[in-house]
């Protein structure tokens, strides 16, 4: 209670810095910290600690702080209320106890204190070790190790001439051959179909118009061209087309000049 005359910032929730974490009343860091300190004053093993005595000390402490008009952090007050409840529960006859039992709650508190105590001790032992820069020192001016990486490139004559060959092949002027494909143009088909239609007035199958000894490639071209020619002649009113069903042979015959069939 070293700074009773100045207002103390007690806010359990507002934790901005290490300083704010410190509870200014004698420098405890939170209610568990205060409890641990009080427990230590009992000078017994934390496993043997009297929780009831501890609770009394804590409540007594909070009361004194209140009497000195110290502002207490909310979490200290919450802990005080909880401990007061724990105390009353511990004093009640066993059969009226609820679940969890006050013994259980007390044990939990004791276990927490043991753990905090253990860690605090461990921290102290850790800090007391021979620390680099305080107890032991590293070499003041090490020369330092440096590894300079050097890349050695590897290749071989085959890779070299192959690369050159590919450059040449890639950039050499290229000659493209366009295949001369056998086709029957629409014009020649028209001419051919017209002239063949001129011979007779009978129905003829379109396939019969095709050149008889043509290669398979030319036959396909001729078939397509002749079909288009037949359509064209029909459209011009010079011929008529007939097909009995889908994919049946397509038949064509000449119309008498201008006269519909």
């Amino acid at each position: 209670m070293n700074s009773a005359d100045e207002p103390l910032l007690f806010s359990g929730a507002a934790v901005q810095s290490d300083d704010a974490l410190y509870i200014e009343v004698d420098g405890w860091e939170g209610p568990l910290d205060l409890l641990l300190d009080l427990a230590r004053r009992q000078k017994v093993d934390l496993r043997q600690i009297s929780i009831l005595a501890l609770v009394d000390q804590y409540l007594g402490y909070i009361e004194r702080a209140g009497a000195m008009r110290l502002e207490l952090a909310a979490d200290y007050l919450v802990m005080a209320a909880w401990l007061a409840y724990l105390k009353s529960a511990l004093l009640l006859p066993k059969e009226e106890q609820e679940d969890p039992s006050p013994e259980e709650l007390a044990l939990r508190l004791q276990l927490r204190l043991q753990r905090l105590g253990a860690m605090r001790e461990a921290a102290a032992r850790l800090m007391a070790r021979d620390r680099v820069g305080r107890d032991v020192f590293l070499r003041g001016a090490p020369e330092g190790l440096r590894t300079d990486r050097k890349t050695l490139y590897r290749s071989d004559i085959f890779a070299l001439i192959q690369a050159y060959g590919q450059v040449k092949a890639r950039t050499a002027p290229r000659i493209y051959h366009v295949a001369n494909r056998p086709v029957m143009t629409l014009d020649s088909a028209l001419e051919r179909v017209s002239s063949m239609l001129g011979v007779t007035l009978e129905w003829m199958e379109l396939r019969d118009f095709l050149p008889p000894h043509a290669s398979p490639e030319l036959k396909r071209s001729a078939l397509a061209s002749s079909f288009v020619a037949a359509l064209e002649l029909t459209k011009r009113g010079k011929a008529e087309l007939e097909q009995e069903e889908a994919f049946a042979p397509l038949r064509i015959r000449r119309l008498r000049d201008g006269a519909p069939a």
Partner: protein, 204 residues
Amino acid sequence: MSEDTAPGEDAITRALEATLFAAEDPMTPEQLSAHLGGMAMGDVREGLAALADHYATRGVHLVERGGRWHFETASDLAHLLRREKEQVRRLSRAATEVLAIIAYHEPVSRAEIESIRGVQTSAGTLDVLLEAGWIRLAGRREVPGRPVIYATTPAFLDHFGLASRRDLPGIDELRAAGLLDPVDEAMNAAMHFDPDEPEAEDAD
């Protein structure tokens, strides 16, 4: 060490000695081997052991910290050297405690740290430890919220002169006493009537 294998005349130990003296950071045997042109790992380990032995009584010691080796001054000479060389940062009590909790429990989440300390941990506290290079983020705990977990670093072992975490003062006793177990686990163990674990008391 016997005089007939004096490491001063031994090319391997001389090379290791020179390298570790010159190194700016502690080195693993693997790094030493690589630096020394692929020196056989067996030779590196033997050489390190011989060197550590040779220096054991001298003013400078060769020590292993977290698998990495470095020379440092003998700790009994601290009083001679400390004078102008107080380079160690002073840690706040909170930071000291948080560091101890992380070291003894790692990996550990902030919530777990707080449940042991009973107070919130300011971000600054963890920052100080992260900045010192003594703790690192060690991933996330696969529980709801996936909290970040923290663990110590090789630099932590270096600084506190620990060969490994097993050298943490009193860690075996703390573990044996169950003081590194969470409170809930300890409750189950202590309260022999846990309905879910009828065998609990046998497990003690």
